[in-house]
Every structure is written in structure tokens, then in C-alpha cells.
């Protein structure tokens, strides 16, 4: 199920003191999926280093998992923790929107 699970050491303080749980749903190694994963990793290392877990779920291998998180679009990034659940679809190429979508940017601004 879990393709990659990375936990990096923290360099900056996490926004909320808790560990972020992120899931990225992909379907095979498509261009979009690869781009999304690369982008996501970059943002995480930059803003959430050490305070996140990332699961990459390949629906081609585990199609039954699509139902649980109501996945329709591929790739979809789901923030499970902290609540509320947020979903970001697409290859995550727009850094600004990803950060806003994950509530990283607004917190930083504060």
C-alpha cells in the first residue's frame, strides 16, 4: 500500500506542533503522477520538514482504496491531519495554490 514513507528531521518549527498526514493518490507512473510527487516532496521538505508523513497510493495496484477517500481525480493529494480534510487535485505545479490549499501559506503569513 505504502510506496514511500518518509519522515525528515525537522529544521523549522512545524506550523501546529502535530505531524501532518498526507496521502498522494496516483495511478501508475504517469507524467502527472511523477510531477505531482516530485512537487509535493519539494514543498514538504521546504515547509513541513520532519513533521509530516507521506503515503503514496497507487490505485492501479490497490483500486479498493479509491473509495475511502472519495478519489475521482488523479493525482489527488489528501491532507488527513490536521482536520479538516483537504484535497488538492492536479500535478501540484502551482506552488502558491498548493500552499494555500494545504493551509501552509496562510499560517506562514501570520
Amino acid at each position: 500500500m505504502i510506496e514511500t514513507r518518509e519522515t525528515s528531521a525537522a529544521e523549522t518549527a512545524p506550523p501546529d506542533g502535530e505531524t501532518w498526514e498526507l496521502r498522494l493518490y496516483i495511478a501508475g507512473q504517469t507524467v502527472k503522477s511523477v510531477t505531482a510527487l516530485a512537487n509535493l516532496k519539494r514543498y514538504c521538505e521546504e515547509y513541513l520538514a520532519g513533521h509530516y508523513t507521506l503515503e503514496v497510493i497507487d490505485l492501479l495496484k490497490n483500486p479498493q482504496l479509491a473509495e475511502g477517500d472519495q478519489i475521482l481525480a488523479i493525482p489527488t493529494l489528501v491532507r488527513k491531519v490536521p482536520e479538516p480534510i483537504r484535497k488538492i487535485i492536479g500535478d501540484l505545479s502551482n506552488e502558491e495554490r498548493v500552499l494555500v490549499g494545504l493551509d501552509i501559506r496562510s499560517r506562514d503569513d501570520r
Binding site: 502527472k32 483500486p63 479509491a66 472519495q70 475521482l72 481525480a73 488523479i74 484535497k87 488538492i88 487535485i89
Partner: protein, 582 residues
């Protein structure tokens, strides 16, 4: 080339179809939805799109053992299950049996942020997984348009939906896609552009405060289909599209004859009754004993041991039974035996279509050999004329296909002068048409009955007067007066006159007989007289004759004696010798 074409059409494969199992829909689509292809069902809110889709799946499982996948974008699985539970569809049990899979796709615009490129592969995977996990043959997507609310990028969405339909086709599953009707278009998002195989349009119309749902097949590629708008209903058994019966005139006919229940009426037909499975219409103005005729027929059917279904739209069963008992038609024993079933309701209780479906349902349950509908004319109070006509057409078709003898009564207005036109114009549909009417004379009105038509047999052309007695309906003998057939008081007058004439005639005959007798006696007396006279004359003549003989004998004797006297002394001879010289 031409010959080749003509020789082989039977070999050409027909478009394979997946029967829906929905009452009536398979008839219209001539077999069902295109097998392995998507079908679009569109309509405005409250049309029963979802229901149609679910019924398609459920019937597929129950009737054809084809597992199905229901992917819902709006309601949750629980909500859907609760909604269709009232129709007797147990979704939970079907899911437990792994014959049905319900997947609720939840789309919440507020949760979704969009960045960069994406596609809907997740949806495909989910659907593919659901299909493969139970080996589904049927799929329903309810409603894909909800995706448009969740994903702002319409260009991506459209291409993905196009891909989805293509993909479903490749998968070979028969799919129903529901969609909301748009302004001026079939669907709000133009889904009809993507689904090109079969499009069914549902419509919900309110005319004169009565809702009628209608279904039309907008297109069906590669197949012929019924093109009309067909009313359909959502009943406790699911969707029922009308006609529930065949659209063609192909039913078998019976050569059997059944009695009308009035022996004299049977006599008016050359075959003494009407054909079993035919339809009979009795029209008449108010109070012309239409119901009594109908009840006679019903009772006769029960007497033969057949079942009869009686729809009374004017009277309650108890009232009908009481009223008919007073004219010697006791329906109660038939009801008790379970042979007669009286269904009474006001026509305004339901819309026309619901009536029709009710009738169908009862006929299916009760399996009668004859059906009476009394009367059909007040159906007009619930629908327009053309609707009533189309309903009756379908009803008559249905009854005919099932070889059920049907008797309808219809009230007609005497005032408008169209005595032989029923408002509903069903007359062309029925096989036998009886007209009962008032024959109004001076100071009285009598009932007359005539046969306007009887398909397939010769019949009497007379207007027969009939009376409703305590023993039921009695047709009176035809009395022909100086100015044609006469009825009522004139009939009585005529009869009295005839009787008087008869008596007079008898007197005359008796008188003549006596006269003859007298003559005979006079003649006989005369003959006797003559005979006596003759005897007297005869006797006299005989006496004269005798005397003459005697005299001659004496003369002879004397002559002999004289001769003998000469020889007597010499020859005393015996008489033989004595005669020799004589």
C-alpha cells in the same frame, strides 16, 4: 447483387439488447436497451430517472442474473436503499449477495483545490474495480452531471466524460446514465453529445391538475423503436410504461361463443351470442338498463364457472348487488364463490394511466375470462377525449391479447343528436356494439335494443323492445303494426285489438261450423226421405214383379195341367218327365 441482399437479411445479426425487465419498456424498445452500450435517461426533477436506473439494475439481478453496479453522485447508498425500499427492492440484501454494488461518490467543491493537470482516472479505477469485483454486466451512473459541480475545469471534465463512455463501451457493460434536463436541451451539460446509442426522455406534465408522466425514446441507434410519447407510472411495483401490451394487432382469436346472459338477445345473433375474447360496447342514454345488461352478462359468465371482473365506476359493490337483486340478477352467490369480483371506485380517484395500470394489475391477479367496465364514459372526467381514447385502445388491446371478453357500457347524450357516436370514439375498436335507447311515444317511454354492429356474424336488424322484469331482462316479441314496429301502450292496444279480432274470428268459425252442421243434417234428412221413397217405389215394383211372376207361373202350370190331363191316366209321371215337354 439484389438477390444476394434479399436472400440474407435473416442472417444479419440483430443489435443485441439487454432486457430491462421494466414493464412496457421492453416492448417499446423492442427488446431492451442496447447491450454493452450506454443509454442516457434524461428528464426534469421528479421524473423517476434514478428509479428507472435502479429498477434496471434490480430487475437485471432478479430476472436475468446479471450483477450490477450503482454509482451514485448525489444520494448515499443508505438514502437510495431507503428510497426504493417502498417498491420492494432490497438493495442491502442484493449487496450482501454480491449481486449489486453501490458506490457513493461524494463531491464537495469546498474540499477540493485544483492545481495543475489532472484526469479522472480515479473514477475509472473505482468503477472498474466495482465492476470487476462482482462481474457486473449492468451499470448505472446517477448522475454524472454532479461532476460539473465538483470540478471547475470543464474542458478536462468533458474529455474525461467522453472517455468514460468510451471506456464503458469497451468494458461491454450496459449502462444507464441519468441526467437532468436542461433549458432547450436534453441535458443540462449536453451529455447527449457523448451518449449516442440510446436516449430516453422522461417528462412530467401537469394538465388540468392531473400529473402525467411520459416517456419518449429520442433515439436508439441501430434499432427501430416506438416513437410516441408513452405514459408511464411509478407504482408500488416500480415503473410501468404503457402500453403494457403489444403494439401490434397480432392476437389469436377464438371461435367460441359466449352468451350475453339474455337468451332473447343471443337469438338476435346468428351464432347465438358473441365471440369469446371480443369486446362489446353497450351505449345508451341515462336509465336504459345498461348496467342491468352488463350484470346479466356477468352473472351468466359466473354461471358458466368463469371468473368475471366488474369495474363499477358509479356504484358501490353493495349498491350494485342490491339493485341487481331487485331485477332478479343475484350477484351475491357469484361473489361468494369467488367468481365475481366487483371493483368500485370513482374515476376521479386516479389519473387515467393509474386506472389503466390498476385494471391491468387486477386482471393479472384475478385472471378473469370476462371483464365489465361500467361505464367508460365518465372516464372523461379525468382526462381529455384523446387520452381516454388512447387508454381504452390500450385496454382493449390488452384484453384481446389475453382473450378476455370485455363488455363496456357508455352513457351517451341523447340531445346532441349523435345517437350513434360515442364520445370516446371507441366504437371502431369494439367488435360488437349494442345500442339501448328510449323509444319515447305519447305519454310514455319504452326501452329499445338494437345491434349496431357485430363483427364476424350476421345479426338481427330489428329494434327490440325490452322490459326489465323481476326475472331480469326480457325482450318482447316483435309486434308489427300498421306503421312499423310498435312498442309500449300501442303494443298493448295492438295486442288487445288482436285478441278481440281473434275472439270474433273464433265466434265466426263456430257459427259457420254450426251452419254447416245444420246443412248437413238437413241434407241427411233429405237423403233419408229420398231413400225411403225409393224403397217404397222399389217395394212396389218388386211386388208388381212378383205378382207378374206368380201369375205367369200359374198360367204355365195350368197349361201343363191341361197337357197332362190328356195323359194322366196312361202315364203317371214324375215331375222331371212332366217338365220335358215344357
Amino acid at each position: 447483387m439484389q438477390e444476394y441482399k434479399l436472400a440474407h437479411p435473416a442472417v444479419l445479426p440483430q443489435l443485441p439488447k439487454a432486457p430491462t425487465g421494466i414493464e412496457g419498456l421492453d416492448e417499446i424498445t423492442e427488446g431492451g436497451l442496447p447491450l454493452g452500450r450506454p443509454t442516457l435517461v434524461c428528464g426534469s426533477a421528479g421524473c423517476g430517472k434514478t428509479l428507472m436506473g435502479i429498477e434496471f439494475l434490480v430487475r437485471g439481478v432478479l430476472d436475468y442474473h446479471e450483477p450490477g453496479v450503482l454509482m451514485t453522485f448525489e444520494e448515499t447508498a443508505e438514502e437510495l436503499a431507503a428510497n426504493v425500499a417502498s417498491l420492494g427492492f432490497d438493495l442491502a440484501a442484493l449487496q450482501a449477495d454480491k449481486m449489486l454494488r453501490v458506490d457513493h461518490v461524494h463531491i464537495d467543491r469546498s474540499e477540493i483545490e485544483e492545481t495543475g493537470e489532472y484526469d479522472l482516472e480515479g473514477l475509472f479505477i473505482r468503477l472498474g474495480h466495482a465492476i470487476d469485483s462482482i462481474g457486473a454486466k449492468r451499470v448505472m451512473l446517477d448522475t454524472v452531471e454532479a461532476l460539473f459541480a465538483g470540478f471547475p475545469n470543464e474542458a478536462v471534465l468533458r474529455s474525461e466524460i467522453r472517455r468514460l463512455f468510451r471506456w464503458l463501451k469497451d468494458k461491454g457493460v450496459t449502462t444507464i446514465i441519468t441526467a437532468e434536463r436542461g433549458d432547450g436541451t436534453l441535458t443540462r451539460q449536453g451529455l447527449e453529445q457523448y451518449v449516442s446509442d440510446c436516449v430516453i426522455l422522461l417528462d412530467n406534465r401537469v394538465i388540468d391538475q392531473i400529473t402525467t408522466r411520459r416517456l419518449r425514446i429520442v433515439k436508439y441507434r441501430g434499432s427501430t423503436h416506438g416513437t410516441n410519447e408513452y405514459p408511464y407510472l411509478i407504482t408500488e411495483d416500480g415503473i410501468s410504461v404503457l402500453p403494457v401490451t403489444s403494439l401490434k394487432l397480432e392476437h389469436q382469436v377464438s371461435d367460441e361463443i359466449v352468451s350475453s346472459g339474455v337468451p332473447e338477445l343471443d337469438e338476435m345473433f346468428t351464432r347465438r351470442g358473441w365471440y369469446k375474447g371480443s369486446s362489446i360496447l353497450i351505449t345508451g342514454t341515462a336509465g336504459t338498463a345498461k348496467t342491468t345488461l352488463a350484470a346479466s352478462f356477468a352473472r351468466e359468465a359466473c354461471r358458466r364457472g368463469e371468473r368475471c371482473l366488474y369495474f363499477a365506476f358509479e356504484e358501490s359493490p353493495a349498491q350494485l348487488i342490491r339493485n341487481m337483486r331487485t331485477v332478479g340478477i343475484d350477484l351475491q352467490p357469484c361473489v361468494d364463490q369467488g367468481l365475481l369480483r366487483i371493483e368500485a371506485s370513482r374515476p376521479t380517484l386516479n389519473g387515467l394511466e393509474l386506472h389503466l395500470v390498476k385494471v391491468h394489475k387486477l386482471i393479472k391477479d384475478f385472471k378473469p375470462q370476462s371483464v365489465v367496465i361500467d361505464p367508460i364514459s365518465n372516464m372523461v372526467s379525468v382526462g381529455s377525449l384523446s387520452e381516454v381514447r388512447s387508454m381504452l385502445t390500450r385496454l382493449i388491446d390488452y384484453l384481446k391479447v389475453n382473450n378476455i371478453t370485455a363488455l363496456f357500457t357508455a352513457l351517451i347524450s341523447a340531445r346532441d343528436g349523435r345517437m350513434e357516436m360515442t364520445e370516446e370514439g371507441v366504437s371502431s375498436l369494439v367488435d360488437t356494439w349494442l345500442s339501448v335507447r328510449d323509444l319515447e311515444g305519447i305519454g310514455e317511454r319504452n326501452r329499445g335494443l338494437s345491434i349496431l354492429k357485430a363483427r364476424g356474424m350476421a345479426h338481427s336488424n330489428q329494434v327490440r323492445e325490452f322490459i326489465v322484469t323481476e326475472q331480469g331482462i326480457q325482450l318482447l316479441d316483435v309486434v308489427i303494426g300498421p306503421a312499423g314496429i310498435i312498442t309500449g301502450a300501442s303494443r298493448l292496444t295492438q295486442r288487445m285489438q288482436e285478441q278481440a279480432r281473434l275472439v270474433a274470428q273464433q265466434h265466426e268459425i263456430a257459427r259457420k261450423d254450426r251452419e254447416l252442421e245444420r246443412r248437413r243434417r238437413v241434407l241427411e234428412a233429405t237423403i233419408e226421405n229420398l231413400r225411403t221413397e225409393f224403397e217404397t217405389v222399389e217395394e212396389e215394383l218388386r211386388q208388381v214383379n212378383n205378382e207378374e211372376q206368380a201369375r205367369q207361373q200359374t198360367v204355365e202350370q195350368n197349361r201343363t195341367t191341361i197337357g197332362q190331363g190328356l195323359t194322366t191316366t196312361q202315364l203317371p209321371t214324375p215331375p222331371a218327365d212332366a217338365q220335358r215337354p215344357a
